[in-house]
Amino acid sequence: MPATFTRNPVDVERNDTGIGGKPPYDRRPTGGGGDGENWENHPQGRGGPRELLIRYRLGLMFALSGDLMFFVALVSAFFVRQSTGHFDVYNHYTTDWRSLAVPPILWLNTAVLLLSSVTMEIARRQLFHEIDVMEEWLGLGRPAVKRAAPWLIATLGLGLTFLVGQWVAWEQLVQQGYLLSAPNPSSNFFYLITGIHGLHLVVGVLALMAALMGLFTLKKVEFRQIAVDSVAWYWHTMGIFWAFLFVLLVFFQ
C-alpha cells in the first residue's frame, strides 16, 4: 500500500504475542516504519513504500545540504569581495565595490518563482490524496495523475517564465554596460550568482519534465509519488535559495 495522507485515524493492530516468540507483524496500511528507532515495531524484511519515499527524501536532503554549502561559499565570497579594500593616502578605507541596481524585472521574476512553488506544492499534494492513490494502486485509472499533471505543467510554465525573465534581466544589464567581464566586481558577482542559480533551475526544469513524463510512464504509483515529491522539494529549495539571493542582491550591496 503506497504512502498516503489520510484524515481518518489509523487503527494500529498489534497482536501482542507475549513473552518470547516472533515480534508482532505490523499491519498498518502505510507499510509500517517511520517510528525512528523503535526497532520492535520495525517490519521484517524490506521496507514499504513509505520507507522508500523517506530514503529518497533523505538522499535529496543531503544533496541539497551540499548545494546549500555551495551557495554559502559564493555568498561568502560576495561579502568578502564587497568589503575588500585598502587604506588610501588619506588613511580612509576605500573599496572598489560599486553597487549594482538590480533590473526591476527581477522583482517580477521572484514573484513568478514563488508562485511556481505554490503550484508545485499543490501538484505534490494531489499525488498523496488517499482515495486517488488507492484507486491508482488498485489499477482503477489515474485520478491522482490527472489532478497533478496540470499543476505540474503550470509549474513548468512558471519556471520557464522565470528563466526567460532572468535572461531579459541579463540583456538589460548588458545594455547598460554591465558585463560578466566588467571590471566592476558587483557585476561579476551578479552574473555569477544569478547564473549559478539559473543553472540549478534549468536542472530543475529538466527534472520537472522528467517527472511529468514519469507520471505517464512509471508503472507503480509509489514511484510516481517519489518522482514528483523529489522534484517538489528540489524546486522549493531553489525557490528559497532564490529568495535569499534576491534579498542579498537588492538589499546587501
Binding site: G66, F70, A73, S76, P185, N188
Partner: protein, 557 residues
C-alpha cells in the same frame, strides 16, 4: 555483450569498492614515481633523465603539482573512504546494499573520468602539466601566460578537480543516506563499528568541503575564460605587461581553498582512525576503551576541522587577530586527537596482542599519527609558523600524518579485508617484511625533513643552490632522504607482489579469519535484529572468547 557491459558498469557496492581501490593503486603508483623523480632531482639536479633530458625548475614544479593532486585526491580521498566504505559499510550495518547504487556507480565513473582528465593534463597538452601546485594559488593559476603548463594544462586540471568534486558530493550523499537510513533493526548509533562512525564524519566533511572547492574552481575557471576578476589583483604584470582588469584578490582563493583544504585532510585520516580502533579491538581481543568518547572525539575532530582553515594562511597577510583565533582552535584539535590516542593505548594496554599484519599496520598508523601529530601544535602557532611556513618542516608534518599514517591505514585495510575481496589471506611473512621495511624507510625519509625545515630549507625549490641561497650543507641529509625514499618505494613492490599472488594462490581464508565481531564477516544469515555491541571481546576463557555482533544475546549451548 550485455552481460559484460553489466559487469563493467556494475552497481554492486563490493565490486565498486574494489574498483575504487584499483584506481587508487594506479594513482599511488604514478604519484610515487613522480615523488621519486623529485627526490632524485633534488640530490642530482643536473643529471640527465633518460628519455626526458635535464629537469628544469618548472618541470620540478609540474611534478610537485601532479604528485600532490594525485596523492591527496585520488589516493587519500578515494581509498580510505570510497574504496573501503563501499566494500564494507553495508555489511557492517547489516544493510543489503548502499542507499543509491546507481548514484554510487556514477560517482565511481566520474572519479575515473576525473583521473583520466588529470593525466591528460600532463601528457596530452603542448605546455604540459600545470605548475601551480595542488593548491593552485592565483594569480599563477589564473593567468595562462604565467608559466608553462598554465594554459590548457591548468584548464584540464580545473576540469578534473571540478568533476572530482561532483563525484565526491554524490558519494557523500549516498554514504550518509546509507548510514542514516539503511541500518538493520537493532543497529543503533551506539552499536556502530568505529569505522562507520569515521565514514559518517568524513562524509559530512566531504559534503560540506568539496562543494566549496567546486565554487572556487568555477570562479577560477571564470577568471581564466569569462573575463571576470575574482582573484587577479590590479596591476598584475607578466613580462612587463599588465594583465587582468579590476582588482581581484588572491586571498579570496586562499580562504575558499583552505576552507575545503583543511577538512580534506581530515577526510583523509578519519577513516584510518576508525579502522585503527577496530583493529586494535580485534587484535588485542579487548573492547574499545571508552567507545562513546572515541566516537564523540571523531565527531569533535570533524567539527573543529571545519574551523581551522586559517592556519594555512598565517603568513599570507590575514589580520593577526584572526591568526590568533585560528591558532587557538587549531591547538584545540589536539585535545580530541590526544583523547583518541589515549583511547587506543588504553585498548591496547595489557591486551594479548595478536601481531598479525593488519595489526602491525594499525600500530604503524598509531606511530605515524603521534609523530606527525606532535608537529601540528608547533605549526599551529603563528609565531613559529612565520619561520616554518613553506619549509620542509611542514612537508615532514603532513607526509608523516597523511602519507604514512593515512597510507598505513589503507594498507591495514587491504590486509584486513583481503579475505572479503578474494577469499584468501595475504602472506604473513611478506606482510611483516613489507611493514618493517616501510616503517623504517618512512621514518628515514620524513624525520630528517624536520631538520631540513628547521634549517630553513624552502619548499617547491627544485634544488639546494640558487642565486640567493645555498643549502649544500644539507646535501648529505637530502641524499639520505632520497635513499630512504627509494627504499620505501621499493618495499611497496613486496606489497604488490603479495596482493596479486595471494589473490590467486594465497592460503584460503576460512569464515571470519580474524575472529572479528563486526557484521561484515558474517557469512550466512545476519539476524533481523542486532542485539550486541560492535566489540564484544574480552570474555572469560573457555567461552569461545568473543561474541560476534550477529549472535543473539541468548546464551548458545
Amino acid at each position: 555483450m550485455r552481460r559484460a557491459l553489466g559487469k563493467v558498469f556494475t552497481t554492486d557496492h563490493r565490486r565498486l569498492g574494489v574498483m575504487y581501490l584499483l584506481l587508487a593503486l594506479a594513482a599511488v603508483a604514478v604519484g610515487t614515481t613522480l615523488s621519486l623523480l623529485m627526490r632524485f632531482h633534488r640530490v642530482w639536479p643536473n643529471a640527465v633523465i633518460p628519455g626526458f633530458g635535464v629537469m628544469k625548475p618548472e618541470d620540478y614544479l609540474a611534478l610537485v603539482t601532479m604528485h600532490g593532486t594525485l596523492m591527496v585526491f585520488f589516493v587519500l580521498t578515494v581509498a580510505p573512504q570510497s574504496g573501503f566504505a563501499n566494500l564494507v559499510l553495508p555489511g557492517q550495518i547489516g544493510a543489503r546494499g548502499m542507499a543509491f547504487p546507481k548514484i554510487n556507480a556514477t560517482s565511481f565513473w566520474l572519479t575515473l573520468v576525473s583521473f583520466l582528465v588529470l593525466i591528460s593534463a600532463a601528457h596530452l597538452t603542448a605546455g604540459g602539466a600545470p605548475i601551480s601546485g595542488w593548491t593552485s594559488y592565483p594569480p599563477l593559476s589564473a593567468l595562462p601566460a604565467a608559466g608553462p603548463g598554465q594554459g590548457l594544462g591548468m584548464d584540464l586540471w580545473l576540469v578534473s578537480i571540478g568533476i572530482f568534486c561532483v563525484a565526491a558530493w554524490l558519494s557523500a550523499l549516498n554514504m550518509l543516506a546509507t548510514i542514516v537510513g539503511k541500518r538493520r533493526a537493532g543497529m543503533t548509533w551506539a552499536r556502530l563499528p568505529m569505522t562507520v562512525w569515521s565514514w559518517l564524519v568524513a562524509s559530512v566533511l566531504t559534503l560540506l568541503a568539496f562543494v566549496v572547492l567546486l565554487a572556487a574552481v568555477g570562479m577560477l575557471f571564470s577568471d581564466r575564460h569569462f573575463g571576470t576578476n575574482f582573484f587577479i589583483p590590479m596591476g598584475d604584470m607578466i613580462n612587463g605587461q599588465v594583465v587582468g582588469h579590476g582588482n581581484g584578490s588572491p586571498m579570496l582563493w586562499l580562504q575558499l581553498f583552505w576552507f575545503f583544504g583543511h577538512p580534506e585532510v581530515y577526510i583523509a585520516v578519519l577513516p584510518g582512525m576508525g579502522l585503527a580502533t577496530s583493529l586494535f579491538a580485534n587484535f588485542s581481543r579487548r573492547r574499545v576503551a571508552g567507545y562513546k568518547m572515541m566516537a564523540g572525539m571523531l565527531v569533535a575532530i570533524g567539527l573543529l576541522g571545519l574551523l581551522v582553515w586559517g592556519h594555512h594562511m598565517f603568513v599570507s597577510g590575514i589580520n593577526p587577530y584572526a591568526g590568533t583565533a585560528f591558532a587557538a582552535v587549531t591547538m584545540a584539535i589536539a585535545v580530541p586527537s590526544t583523547a583518541e590516542v589515549i583511547g587506543w593505548l588504553a585498548t591496547l594496554w595489557g591486551g594479548g596482542l595478536r601481531l598479525r599484519t593488519p595489526m602491525l599496520f594499525a600500530l604503524g598508523f598509531l606511530s605515524f599519527f603521534i609523530a606527525g601529530g606532535l608537529t601540528g601544535p608547533i605549526l599551529a602557532q603563528p609565531s613559529l609558523d612565520v619561520y616554518l611556513h613553506n619549509t620542509f618542516f611542514v612537508v615532514a608534518h603532513f607526509h608523516l600524518i597523511m602519507a604514512m599514517a593515512g597510507v598505513f591505514g589503507v594498507f591495514a585495510g587491504v590486509y584486513y579485508w583481503f579475505p572479503l575481496m578474494t577469499g584468501r589471506l595475504m602472506n604473513e611473512t611478506l606482510g611483516k617484511v613489507h611493514f618493517w621495511v616501510s616503517l623504517i624507510a618512512a621514518y628515514g625519509t620524513f624525520l630528517p625533513m624536520h631538520f631540513a625545515g628547521l634549517a630553513g630549507e624552502p619548499r617547491h625549490y627544485d634544488r639546494l643552490t640558487g642565486p640567493a641561497m645555498n643549502f649544500t650543507a644539507l646535501l648529505p641529509l637530502e641524499r639520505g632522504i632520497t635513499y630512504s625514499a627509494l627504499l620505501l618505494a621499493a618495499a611497496q613492490g613486496i606489497f604488490l607482489w603479495n596482493v596479486f599472488v595471494s589473490a590467486r594462490r594465497g592460503r584460503v581464508a576460512g569464515v571470519n579469519p580474524w575472529e572479528s565481531t563486526t557484521l561484515e564477516w558474517e557469512n550466512g544469515e545476519v539476524p533481523s535484529l542486532i542485539e550486541r555491541g560492535p566489540y564484544e571481546y574480552e570474555l572469560p576463557q573457555g567461552e569461545g572468547g568473543y561474541h560476534p555482533q550477529w549472535e543473539s544475546p541468548v546464551k548458545q549451548e
